[in-house]
Symmetry: C2
Amino acid sequence: MPDERPELTIRLMDATDLDRGFLEAIGALRPAELTRDQAISIYRHRLRSRVRTYVAIIDNRIAGTAAVFIEPKFIHSGGIVGHIEDVAVHPAFQKHGVGRALVVHLLNECRNFHCYKVILDCAEGVIPFYEKLGFHRWERAMRIDL
Amino acid sequence: MPDERPELTIRLMDATDLDRGFLEAIGALRPAELTRDQAISIYRHRLRSRVRTYVAIIDNRIAGTAAVFIEPKFIHSGGIVGHIEDVAVHPAFQKHGVGRALVVHLLNECRNFHCYKVILDCAEGVIPFYEKLGFHRWERAMRIDL
């Protein structure tokens, strides 16, 4: 029943979210393997690097996270691009629309930043998830390991 | 003959590069359609956003440009990722290895930033160019227009 659905809040991450299960949530993507001090150091590094990390909160626990980087370009008459990174949902909260809610929230944030497009790279298996949200297949992502 | 090859310098962009043909160079990718004042405003916005823009210079002219964004991640034990954007070579300097030199320079910068990988999105036709530089096909880039 709809009124039994737990309330979901999405907001920018702050350091206290490390005590609400943030690392367990992002660990759904790939184990973070960080101490709390290391995580705080990275959190601050990301703030300085202008990476915006968002959290989805249910019952004061981190149900999921996603990040976006806002890139002002010279081309497209100074158009602004949003880059979505690291969408992850805590195993205990999967299949409840948390990932969808996070991406929709980020798209609205990107609209507020006047982005003309938002891009992301994903594995083949996740393409239908993003297509349902209005994304279409775009270029080829290339990678080099250093 | 090798000794006739003009000297190529690559460095971080500064605002004076707008007087050396920077917009014409990046215009090879897509017309920038900016006044000088607009371009300076975007240049400053990119500095604040931590987008690092590089220029390749031949005979005091901008032969090409490329940018990189350095993203510290929570996953991969706080690993750092380099994102390459907007590699462009001025039409008058194409087929002289300028694009290759720019990407090689950016990869070295990413090594200095201790990146464990560098990624970029490109059109199908440019894949061989990046494969020759050591990149391999990775995920699917997805896009949504706002």
